[in-house]
């Protein structure tokens, strides 16, 4: 490994130091820095590289086991270089759920660091790596002090993933297309952006992969099984389990059974839910039989359509909870409902609880 030249890094960029790149290895500047070092994937076999490989594996192990990644800033280069290597190893496993978990852990780590940064640095990172449109402001319309006004689109893209009422747009100050945010809030929104960026970038593979990485990939597969369980635990239970159904779906089934009319959105929800948990076509058609306007031919056609056997050949997924709320299909949400965003996730979670299988999720 050639020795890096921090001068080249700091010259054109007054805002970020190498220490910053170690903190935020997902930044555009970090990728540029690696390019400047002239390092390619083949250098991985070099003995100089072993701290990087070690750190890369540690990142993965921590993310998979604890959902957190620690900070190790003594060796800044190893910190910067290990991040893309972790990503590469993970991509080679082809395990999406592990990639999501890694992205979340790295994003949380970034958040803890970002929230301590100056407004100037936050502004710079948001603007350059993530192309946000935002303004630094200095406003105190009430008790809170706001450092930023973020463009509506940038705000919404990230806030929709956050469930606390304070992120809901009607609870924000929105002024000429800009949403006010505190420094802390900006850091939290950036965490979402970081997570999305890492997920979007994973799965991109270089043409050739050094042999040396193969054992690391195998080891990581082992870690994934150890900490996340075998994939089947995360997939939907094979046999439909009625007791794991969410309240909305149970309500739809009950209403149909009682001969009450169920609106289109309700019917679509029920059918797409049943299709996705692997219920058979016959069974699904039977569920709709008590409906006052039941037509077997029509029902069969629609179920096949939803299952992707007809028309556009797309298998439909179940509508999101927000949609179901809008259409009045959501019914007596319970505790599990507050942790999920789609009836199918409810089913997964509940089935896991009922069978006592699979790993426990960390509260996020």
């Amino acid at each position: 490994m050639r020795s890096p030249s921090p001068a080249r890094l700091t010259e054109p960029n007054l805002m970020l130091t190498r220490a910053d790149l170690a903190k935020y290895p997902f930044l555009n500047e970090a990728s540029d820095y690696i390019k400047e070092l002239g390092i390619s994937i083949d250098d991985i076999a070099s003995p100089d590289f072993s701290p990087v490989l070690e750190r890369a594996e540690k990142r993965l192990e921590e993310a998979l086991s604890k959902g957190r990644v620690s900070n190790e800033f003594q060796n800044e280069n190893a910190e910067i270089l290990s991040f893309p290597v972790s990503n590469l190893i993970l991509s080679l496993t082809g395990e999406e759920r592990a990639q999501r978990r890694f992205a979340l852990a790295e994003a949380k780590r970034a958040y803890e660091l970002l929230r301590q940064e100056s407004p100037e640095k936050l502004d710079y990172i948001a603007r350059t790596t993530f192309s946000w449109k935002l303004k630094k402001i200095d406003a105190q319309p009430g008790k809170k002090f706001y450092d930023f006004a973020i463009s509506l689109a940038d705000y919404l893209r990230n806030s929709i993933h956050l469930k606390e009422p304070k992120w809901k747009l009607p609870n924000r100050i929105l002024d000429h297309g800009l949403v006010y945010a505190t420094r802390e809030e900006l850091a939290r929104l950036l965490e979402e952006e970081v997570r999305t960026r890492i997920v979007d970038r994973s799965g991109r593979l270089p043409g050739e992969v050094p042999k040396l990485l193969q054992p690391k990939v195998e080891r990581t597969r082992g870690l994934i099984t150890k900490w996340l369980g075998t994939p089947s635990h995360y997939e939907l239970p094979k046999v439909p389990a009625p007791e794991a159904m969410p309240p909305c779906v149970r309500n739809l089934i009950d209403n149909l059974a009682e001969g009450k009319n169920v609106q289109h959105m309700g019917r679509f929800t029920l059918a797409s839910f049943l299709v996705n948990i692997g219920a058979g076509e016959e069974e699904i058609v039977k569920t709709f039989k008590p409906a006052s306007d039941f037509s077997e031919r029509m029902t069969r056609y629609q179920v096949e359509h939803i299952a992707g056997k007809r028309g556009g050949r797309t298998k439909y997924t179940c509508p999101m909870c927000t949609t179901l709320k809008t259409h009045g299909v959501c019914y007596k949400p319970d505790e599990i409902c507050s942790t999920i965003r789609n009836p199918l996730s409810y089913y997964k979670t509940k089935a896991r609880i009922l069978t006592g299988k699979g790993p426990k999720r960390e509260p996020s």
């Binding site: 009430g142 689109a153 919404l156 929709i160 747009l169 009607p170 100050i173």
Partner: protein, 404 residues
């Protein structure tokens, strides 16, 4: 096609065949999907695309649809099946319709019938039948000055929020009369075209103030030297904060007796000078008015100031929406562009009239109504000769049959 539909279709055809006729297609017209609802058995022709306004007009003249729609979305392949169209983006659209408003005149001109048990009632249809809890209702609605005036006021509120809060550009905004009971607002802008369903839902919720929590706008009770004091947002603050205070100011000036406060609370508020709201800070300064009263006032203010849009329309990023410059098959009125500066003076019962001449129809039953300067009806079981626009309205609203 029943006899009424035959007459309506014939009239629509004449209208579209006029050589002067021009359609006003949306921006990037070739990336849109078009849809036509035909008179013939209510059949929907969709997934069509057109390169230019001329070929679109040719299709309309050819098919003579009862309703003409285009997609708010732009697609790489607008004619492909839904899943393969390749969504590029979509206009941000808003629909304000008297269907979603609670106007006091509805019992006079609207009625409903439960499709399951036959129960009937006046006014807008309830969500569920009060008798059998079924949700399938047959509704008969009417257009009246009052309903459309309220729709207009909601539209004005919507536009104000779009500009001052959401920062939407006037130049990207177009306003249309729907040809029936409301108004549509289309926003064609790079800033909003890529927004997904969930993002649009947030925007809809913002305009409706759905999920607004006054505490998060710093309405709270604090203690100053042992006395409890209410504090809240102030006039002039951006977004909902200032708007809440403005709403309270309006309520105190007009309907303070009608919002369910006790007579003590009302008299305390009446003896207070509401101009204090325009000075800062004011919240603590009303004797005998506590936190719960302020909360009631805030929730009424929010209701008053929110814009009653149909959130289903705004959140659907694949929606087909009525094309301006075409006839609305529910009324025979023209869906048309309304220059925003003219919204106030726009008369939905004069400008969108599309038919000349006279027609004879047999009216089953109709409320009284106005078109242009003329008043008509009410009618019941009678044959009347009417200006074509009025006769067409009655035919389209299923209130009359043609007379041979």
């Amino acid at each position: 096609m029943n006899p009424a539909e035959q007459v309506i279709r014939q009239k629509f055809q004449q209208y579209y065949l006029d050589p002067k006729r021009q359609l006003d297609p949306p921006p990037n017209p070739s990336e849109r999907e078009y849809g036509f609802l035909l008179f013939n058995g209510k059949f929907m022709v969709r997934h069509r695309s057109f390169k230019d306004p001329t070929s679109l007009l040719t299709a309309v003249r050819d098919l003579v649809p009862s309703h003409v729609y285009f997609s708010t979305a732009y697609y790489r392949e607008p004619t492909a099946p839904m899943e393969q169209k390749g969504w590029i983006g979509a206009d941000l659209v808003f629909d304000i319709d008297a269907d979603h408003l609670n106007t006091p005149c509805k019992p006079d001109h609207d009625n409903w019938k439960c499709k399951a048990c036959g129960t009937t009632g006046n006014g807008g249809a309830p969500k569920l039948c009060p008798k059998c809890k079924n949700d399938r209702m047959e509704e008969q609605t009417w257009l009246c000055d009052r309903c459309l005036q309220e729709a207009k006021e909601e539209t004005a509120k919507l536009l104000e929020m779009l500009y001052t809060d959401l920062g939407i550009d006037h130049e990207d905004t177009k306003l249309f009369f729907s040809g029936h009971r409301g108004y549509h607002v289309h926003i064609h802008s790079k800033q909003t075209s890529k927004l997904g369903e969930e993002e649009r839902r947030e925007i809809a919720d913002y305009l409706l103030a759905q999920g607004l929590d006054p505490q998060l706008h710093e309405l709270e009770e604090t203690s100053v030297g042992g006395t409890k004091v209410a504090e809240g947002p102030l006039i002039g603050q951006p977004g909902w904060r200032g708007r809440i205070v403005a709403g309270i100011y309006d309520i105190l000036g007009s309907e303070i007796d009608q919002i369910g406060l006790t007579s003590n609370q009302v008299s305390a508020l009446k003896s207070w000078d509401r101009e204090d709201l325009l000075r800062k800070p004011f919240w603590s300064s009303v004797k005998g008015v506590g936190m719960s009263t302020w909360k009631t006032l805030v929730s009424k203010a929010v209701e008053k100031k929110s814009a009653k849009i149909d959130s289903v329309v705004t959140t659907d990023i694949h929606r087909l929406i009525r094309m301006p410059g075409t006839l609305n098959g529910h009324t025979g009125l023209l869906a048309m562009k309304v220059p925003e500066e003219r919204l106030d003076e726009f008369d939905p019962f004069t400008e969108p009239l599309a038919f000349q001449g006279e027609m004879k129809v047999k009216v089953k039953e109709s409320p009284g109504f106005r078109l242009g300067e003329e008043h008509f009806g009410p009618y019941r079981d009678e044959v009347v000769g009417l200006p074509s626009a009025a006769a067409m309205l009655l035919l389209c609203k299923h209130r009359a049959e043609p007379v041979a």
